[in-house]
């Protein structure tokens, strides 16, 4: 064969090949582009029901585990608190669990307090040290600072504290809880947190209440909010927000109304005035005794729309309009939030809101304006009985207890302090001098998963097990219309080198000769469930003790059937009308004189809260919804103010209050009142691992010992500041584009 023939033959073969291949090319190529199973071969995993402890709301979660490792947090759809939802922080629990900086050994202080110099010691040795102190501390002053008062760990700590002869159990948080409780006691006679069922509402008025991001249970309220909006196919609940800042919750409202700071109590009274007037005109108050009506009339008489307009800067017409809407779109409700509570006149303003709500409810009942289902009344007494099982009194949330602890410690009068999973050095106003007080505590034991601002002052740090590897139980912090017992179980084998806080406390106590008749935390949980059994009125009767235990572990706890129509609340109080004549709204007072031109508006962001989990990269990198900023804190300033002061995005501002100052980069934010600057809580840790340390500014430095009336909690929305440029500039990690953010019409939304 010569070359030419070879080429010819080769060509013929190639041509034949081409002809053969062409016919089926498309059928071949395309299916082959699709890999079998789309290239995914899913693994089966196990789901364990437990309870989220990233904040103290207590959402039910199910953790997916594969080969003994926790992979993913899912909401427990049956759990009445979160109904399957989980917030960003809850989702990040798995990252917290696997955080490289988790403490895996006990630490003993070697240098001076506050120096962060520790040497690793075995846990047993650390417990011995604690036990020695427990032995000697009896009657010499001891305290517990915890992040939650409703779980089994708190119950154990409370018990030990009792043996040590102390009741100083503090759960310090700047959430206005004690004022809420006080107001509820005023309005209903029972001191609990209020609960607002918004899921069936026709009209919801938010008085500075950021229920979807920083309330007591954002996930629960978010679920109810969704239901209010679209749960009912024929009616969409309307929501109006009155406040100082376009918060995430305000952004979801149909209408935003700006009002002066500290004036929402006046607004509540003014709305009551108008509601009362309009309802009277329309004959809706016929069932109310005349004497009562007269009393209300005289109590509300001063709060005419004109007067309220002067105080709040909300136009009188708008006030009347709101009152009309409240009446016309029954069921309606007003929820007071931080703007109301955390001002100098917080308690009275809360009471005013409570009266407005009671009035609305009364009118609705009397006028048969409610469609089924009725607003369920919370079963408060039952809840209180449940809480009794834990034992820690509600009063531990009072700032007064925390202040007392600090006072005594600063004087050197406390022999033993135990800090459970809390970080008061970071989360308490700087001017309370928490750090200094803790440094003077005789012996400070911190139970913590991470080294943080507070552990710096510890004598021993005990590596607390994460909640994903612990036993515990929690009484739903406040009733969600239902009493809830949430159980917490280890979803993975506990890591080596950590100990559950309850176990550590029990072991130390037994070493110190304190009899607790329980071996470990798991047993306490078991016994709690056992004691609870008679109360569990909605589980199959035939279950034995073991069956109930398994039932609880399987479901993540116990609560009555979620179907409200089947639920027979044991205690339905009638609408109690608060004594409105006792409500006298004082004009707001401020810390900071005339030099301080700006109102300081501090708030919790949905991902950071008070900064408990600010060391998690997932949350750090998550853009805060309203600002789309991440990785750093900021100070919000109105665009017009910024132009006036020549401030640009990223200019580092010095924020100065009468109590201290911080520096933070400016963020020009259209949703903040012109005479106000806003800052998020949670940032500016001095020591909290490499992600969080020194990141951002801690606005606690701006807060001081400025208690509200009738309360020990600092009135932290009643602080005035001045701002000044430092000349520095900082890069801000911002997801959105400052110009593009105004271009929503591209999407025709």
């Amino acid at each position: 064969m010569d070359r030419r023939t070879f080429m010819k033959l080769g060509g013929a073969v190639a041509a034949a090949g081409m002809t053969g291949a062409c016919g089926q090319a498309a059928q071949k190529i395309i299916p082959y582009a699709i890999p079998p199973n789309d290239g995914v071969n899913p693994v089966e995993g196990w789901f364990y029901s437990t309870t989220c402890r990233m904040c103290d709301a207590g959402c039910g979660i199910m953790v997916r585990t594969v080969e003994g490792r926790a992979k993913k947090v899912e909401g427990n759809p049956d759990h009445p608190i979160n109904r399957g939802g989980v917030c960003a922080r809850g989702q990040a629990a798995v990252q917290q669990y696997y955080h490289p900086e988790r403490l895996k050994t006990a630490l003993k202080r070697t240098g001076a307090k506050g120096n962060n110099s520790f040497t690793p010691i075995p846990i047993d040795e650390a417990l011995n040290l604690l036990a020695e102190r427990m032995k000697t501390a009896r009657g010499k002053g001891s305290f517990v600072i915890a992040s939650d008062a409703n779980d089994v760990t708190s119950a154990i700590a409370w018990k030990i504290l009792g043996v040590l002869g102390s009741t100083d159990f503090a759960v310090p948080a700047l959430n206005g809880r004690e004022k809420h409780v006080r107001s509820m006691a005023f309005a209903k006679g029972l001191g609990t947190l209020p609960y607002y069922d918004i899921s069936q509402l026709g009209f919801l008025l938010l008085l500075g209440a950021d229920i979807l991001e920083s309330g007591f249970s954002p996930v629960h309220y978010a679920g109810a909010y969704g239901e209010m909006r679209r749960g009912n196919p024929v009616r969409r609940g309307r929501m109006v927000y009155v406040g100082r800042r376009m918060s995430m919750t305000a952004a979801s409202a149909d209408r935003f109304i700006a009002a002066n700071p500290g004036s929402l109590g006046f607004l509540s009274m003014g709305l009551s005035h108008e509601v009362f007037r309009i309802a009277g005109d329309n004959g809706l108050l016929k069932k109310i005794p005349v004497s009562l009506k007269e009393k209300w009339k005289s109590a509300l008489g001063d709060y005419t729309p004109q007067m309220v307009m002067e105080k709040t800067a909300v136009p009188a017409k708008v006030i009347t309009g709101l009152a009309r809407e409240l009446l016309e779109q029954m069921p309606s409700q007003a929820i007071p939030g931080d703007d109301v509570v955390c001002h100098s006149n917080g308690v009275d303003s809360l009471n005013a809101a409570a009266f407005l709500n009671a009035l609305l409810k009364q009118i609705a009942r009397d006028g048969n304006l409610l469609k089924k289902p009725d607003l369920p009344e919370e079963d408060i007494s039952f809840y209180l009985r449940m809480k009794g099982f834990i034992g820690v009194p509600e009063a531990s949330h009072d700032y007064a207890v925390f202040r007392k602890i600090l006072r005594q410690s600063a004087k050197g009068q406390t022999a033993l302090g135990m800090i459970i999973d809390a970080n008061p050095v970071h989360t308490a106003p700087r001017s309370l001098k928490t750090a200094e007080a803790l440094a003077k505590t005789g012996f400070l034991a911190c139970f913590s998963s991470f080294l943080n601002d507070t552990t710096r002052f510890a004598d021993v740090v005990i590596p607390a097990a994460h909640f994903l590897e612990s036993w515990s139980a929690q009484i739903g912090d406040y009733p969600v219309g239902l009493p809830v017992l949430s159980t917490i179980q280890p979803v993975v084998k506990p890591a080596v080198g950590v100990i559950q806080t309850g176990d550590a406390l029990i072991q130390a106590a037994s070493k110190a000769g304190i009899k607790l008749d329980v071996k470990n935390q798991e047993e306490v949980v078991k016994s709690l469930v056992k004691r609870f059994r008679p109360e569990m009125y909605s589980i199959p009767r035939k279950l034995d003790a073991n069956g109930v235990w398994e039932y609880c572990l399987r479901n993540g706890g116990w609560w009555p059937e979620p179907d409200k129509s089947k639920l027979s609340p044991r205690y339905v109080p009638p609408v109690q009308m608060p004594a409105v004549e006792k409500i006298k709204i004082a004009n707001p007072k401020y810390a900071g004189g005339k030099d301080y031109g700006f109102n300081l508006h501090l708030y919790k962001t949905v991902n950071m809260g008070y900064g408990e989990a600010v060391n998690l990269p997932w949350l750090l990198e998550m853009p805060e919804p309203m600002t789309t900023l991440s990785w750093d804190s900021w100070v919000e300033i109105n665009p017009k103010t910024a132009v006036k002061l020549g401030i640009d995005n990223g200019d580092v501002l010095k924020i100065e209050s009468p109590f201290g100052s911080v520096e933070a980069p400016a963020f020009i934010y259209p949703g903040i009142a012109p005479n106000t600057v806003a800052m998020p809580f949670g940032w500016g840790h001095e020591s909290f691992g490499r992600h969080a340390s020194g990141r951002g500014a801690n606005p606690m430095a701006l807060l001081g010992d400025f208690p509200a009336e009738n309360s020990d909690e600092p009135a932290w929305r009643a602080v005035k500041v001045k701002i000044g440029k430092t000349g520095k500039k900082r890069k801000m990690v911002r997801e959105g584009n400052p110009e593009g953010e105004y271009e929503a019409e591209v999407f025709q939304l």
Binding site: A26, P42, R238, A251, M622, P625, G671
Partner: protein
């Protein structure tokens, strides 16, 4: 069989779709972290985040209208819209992104060579590129979802509608010899959504919840003028 008829074929029983009710969405961002946890989406750190190299497959876009105090805010959860006429698919020279018979745009990470043409051709900006090698510091790698891979540097990625969950749901249904039930498959974002704004399901099943919701008068597709036939359906907010 032409390419068009392949994309259009209706012989499959499933066509996945998502309905997002903007009236319910409160912008809390739980979905973004749920997605991150489910899909091994890395965090990139402050510097890279500043450079806009975050890898999130799902983000909450927040838009303003007006000025204080008459400010209106719109939250828009933005994820891959799983277009039926996906502009990202034809431009990939190596078939790294393709349309599967259930209407999803799927990525084959191993095929991707990183021309990033798909990212350019996506009007929503939801495709993410691995600019660097991603690291999971020990023991964070233990959290990684074994269902799906960790992407190499130089590879495109995006929302898959939690493909692994769809597969698992279908596997379960197959084992039991039945069709997938409505609500059986829930992507991570929909599962975690506190307000239940996200609904996922088979739009070809007229009784499914997504099909019901998609009949809403508030139904809205993003950038409909491009004719992409997106399968994330937004229900407009407001009254």
């Amino acid at each position: 069989m032409t390419l068009k008829s392949f994309n259009d074929k209706h012989d499959n029983d499933y066509h996945w779709a998502m309905v997002i009710d903007l009236d319910c969405c409160d912008g809390c961002g739980a979905c973004t972290i749920a997605c991150q946890a489910e899909n091994n989406v890395p965090t990139v750190g402050e510097e890279r985040a500043y450079d806009k190299r975050t890898m999130s497959w799902l983000r909450i876009e927040r838009y303003f209208e007006g000025e204080w105090p008459n400010l209106r805010v719109v939250f828009l959860p933005m994820l891959c819209q799983q277009c039926d006429k996906a502009p990202c698919e034809p431009v990939c020279p190596v078939f790294a992104t393709y349309h599967n018979p259930e209407g999803l745009n799927v990525m084959v990470y191993n095929r991707c060579i990183g021309t990033r043409f798909c990212g350019n051709n996506c009007p929503f900006g939801v495709r993410k590129f691995n600019w660097f090698k991603n690291r999971w510091e020990e023991p964070l790698e233990q959290q990684l979802n074994p269902d799906i891979s960790v992407r190499e540097k130089g590879v495109m990625e995006k929302c898959t509608f939690c493909m692994q969950r769809i597969r698992r749901g279908k596997d379960h249904a197959k084992d039991e010899g039945r069709e997938v039930r409505d609500g059986e498959i829930i992507p991570a974002c929909a599962q975690t959504c506190p307000t239940k704004a996200i609904t996922f399901g088979n739009i070809r099943d007229s009784k499914s919840k997504v099909a019901e919701l998609a009949k809403s008068k508030r139904r809205h597709h993003l950038l409909e003028e491009h004719g992409l036939e997106t399968h994330v359906i937004y229900l407009k907010g407001g009254e």
